[in-house]
Symmetry: C2
Subunit: 409 residues, 2 copies
């Protein structure tokens, strides 16, 4: 019978758009002994986490808590809880993760309307607003930061239009939360889903979500209390019979909010160690300060871009919509992008990303997120990248990249 070796992961410099390096304080939090899910010490940690997430999302929403799953679990929880089969959902798509929203919404039984924008740019908000006025969807679902193309979509105007037209706006902020501003209340976003393993620098495993009273109102119309928990004081349903029940138990936000409320109505068994990690990760972020953190991400992006351009490389996509935390580089003609990535990982312990679909083999994607977003990492990468490109026959002036980045610092 096969035997399995001791766990001993190699040290890595992770400069992908997620998962990224985890702060050692977060790793340490996960090594703490667990508490029972209804232990008052643990429910106090759950309440702490809700309070901190409100600050992170910049919202006064009552509901801000993690979904127990990877980032896309948060997207699915939002969509399956809000979409009744037959609801019209508008998805403006400008990269791979727009297709994911489309896919999830379709599986929830939505009638889909999509807008597509050339990859590498984003929508003029007026174009989206015109489509909302024309189609009058029940829900608009849109990506804030699209890691597949390294773009960011402005949302404030779209948020205002959705509020005026009484449309629910669901935002995928998986890549942006904690790295660039996400203004839930100021931009009038009804539901925002964040990711753990990107700018929060927490391991993949939880998806923080927030939603307002407009979204909650729809949930409550569809609510049913779980069988096996029903008593005379908690009847089976508060739902309006005109509304279809939610198609998932695991992702039912109306049940989850009862679990996260003082009611503590039993649902799943909260992921103890991941909750420790998320609480510690967000605590570190708030201690750094959101504005200081955003400034750090901008500085590292500037240094990285200066270094890459000094090496004679060109950046992919429309500069006006560049996402601070993901920098996409065109692979020079004749260069095998995967061979470059393999050598970076194998010899230098540095991981960068390839891309999806139409961009596969055409660009590299470099993430500067959270704990990975540091001067040490950017300089180490630029030096290593130069060496690897030279080995792949790309004419790069020795030292130019690192020197240009140092000039920025």
């Amino acid at each position: 019978m096969k035997t399995y070796a001791e766990l001993a992961p190699s040290p890595r410099t992770i400069l992908t758009p997620g998962p990224v390096e985890v702060d050692p304080r977060v790793l340490r939090a996960m090594s703490m002994p667990i508490l029972g899910q209804f232990d008052p010490e643990f429910t106090a940690l759950m309440n702490d986490t809700m309070g901190m997430l409100r600050q992170l999302f910049r919202t006064n929403n009552e509901w801000a808590y993690p979904i127990d799953g990877t980032s896309r679990s948060g997207l699915e929880a939002a969509l399956v809880s809000l979409i009744e089969p037959g609801d019209k959902v508008l998805v403006p798509i400008y990269g791979r993760f727009g297709y994911l929203l489309q896919e999830i919404a379709e599986r929830c039984g939505a009638v889909l309307v999509t807008l597509e924008q050339q990859w590498g740019s984003v929508f003029d908000p007026e174009e989206v607003i015109a489509a909302i006025r024309k189609e009058r969807p029940d829900i608009v679902a849109i990506v804030h930061g699209e890691t597949s193309t390294g773009r960011i979509q402005p949302l404030a105007d779209i948020g205002r239009a959705c509020r005026e037209l009484d449309v629910l706006l669901v935002v995928d902020a998986v890549a942006t939360i904690g790295g660039v501003p996400v203004e839930t209340d100021a931009w009038q976003l009804d539901v925002v889903v964040g990711g753990a393993q990107k700018c929060l620098s927490v391991p993949s495993g939880m998806a923080p979500i927030t939603y307002n009273a407009r979204a909650e109102q729809k949930l409550l119309k569809r609510k049913r209390v779980e069988r096996g928990l029903r008593t005379t004081s908690t009847p089976s349903s508060t739902s309006d019979p005109l509304f279809a029940p939610i198609r998932s138990n695991y992702f039912d936000l109306s049940q989850l909010q009862d679990y996260w409320s003082p009611l503590r109505l039993n649902h799943h068994t909260e992921m103890t160690s991941m909750l420790y990690a998320l609480r510690e990760g967000v605590r570190i972020i708030l201690a750094e300060g959101l504005e200081a953190r955003f400034a750090r991400h901008r500085l590292q992006e500037q240094a990285l871009m200066a270094g890459l351009e000094a090496m004679g490389l060109s950046l992919y996509g429309d500069p006006a919509s560049k996402l601070t935390v993901v920098t996409c580089v065109n692979i020079p003609p004749g260069v095998d992008g995967e061979s470059v990535r393999d050598m970076l990982l194998g010899k230098f312990g540095i991981e960068i990303a390839s891309s999806f679909g139409p961009l596969k083999g055409r660009i590299w994607r470099i993430g500067t997120m959270g704990y990975s977003c540091s001067t040490k990492n950017v300089l180490h990468f630029l030096g290593a990248f130069e060496a690897v490109l030279v080995r792949h026959g790309v004419p790069v002036q020795a030292g130019a990249g690192v020197q240009a980045a140092l000039d920025v610092y």
Copy 2:
């Protein structure tokens, strides 16, 4: 603005039916630096985990991998992937978690047939088999170990009957895997879902699952490749148009198995630290040896029961169907069960569980699972329980419980 204290969980003796104490080696594994999800070192760890899970489930199935969520995520993944809306699903219910299977199956669009057995006992397999012959369901979903009542349902005869009648059998082994025998192949179980935070002593956050070629055949008929990943070499669908597509993206086993296969078709971002924990937890279990582990759980159960009975307490439920790893105790008349639990936790740092629905306030539930299942814990608990019961006016002979347990050891 509120400030948040350093994480400092109190040490606990956790004798609930989950989550239970985590082996320090598993906690240590979670504190290791992360690897990228497509780093060859990480995919090797994923493959290790699949190999170890096959041993744990005692199966030669190709597919054995974790679902990224809590235990009920594994149940929902199995059911939403296999149930087409309109499929007939038979759920024999003998406790709370049978209702959960019913609830999830209903939300998947199944036509439900349920059998109900008095709580505290289990089904005569012949009764279930007769219902299968009569109803001819597409799927039978049943709980193996019911923690709400502390019972275990024999499955071998039901497995044989389902195979003969070409019915898919889905088993909730969340509470039993790693604590008592679960014989996937020998009992002819088509899908088995385990839990992390019970007898595996891994923190909540992953649900190991295995399924055979019979289950896979149904998945493949419903398969669609995710939008945004489709290329000419991976077309959108291999599905039979007569079969309804799977209603979830996150829980789509046909996509998940592509992610866990050498194809590594991108889906979610695997939970790195939880995968480390699961791999280490199962590695420790296989090193102990499954038979030795089952014997340890039986021994501690015997000692615990002897101690409780020597204290004059009575056990709940039919002894013939008692689940080794959960012992239910009738709360003596006039005693406030929650006050006893609060004093155990507050003064002795010991957590035991209350119960659900009709048993709420009537029984305590004591788990002896995984790392929590130790002589030290059983003896500590019996001594503390005696002291707390005396303080609650229950006449208990001093020292009797601990001495009776020592006699068993």
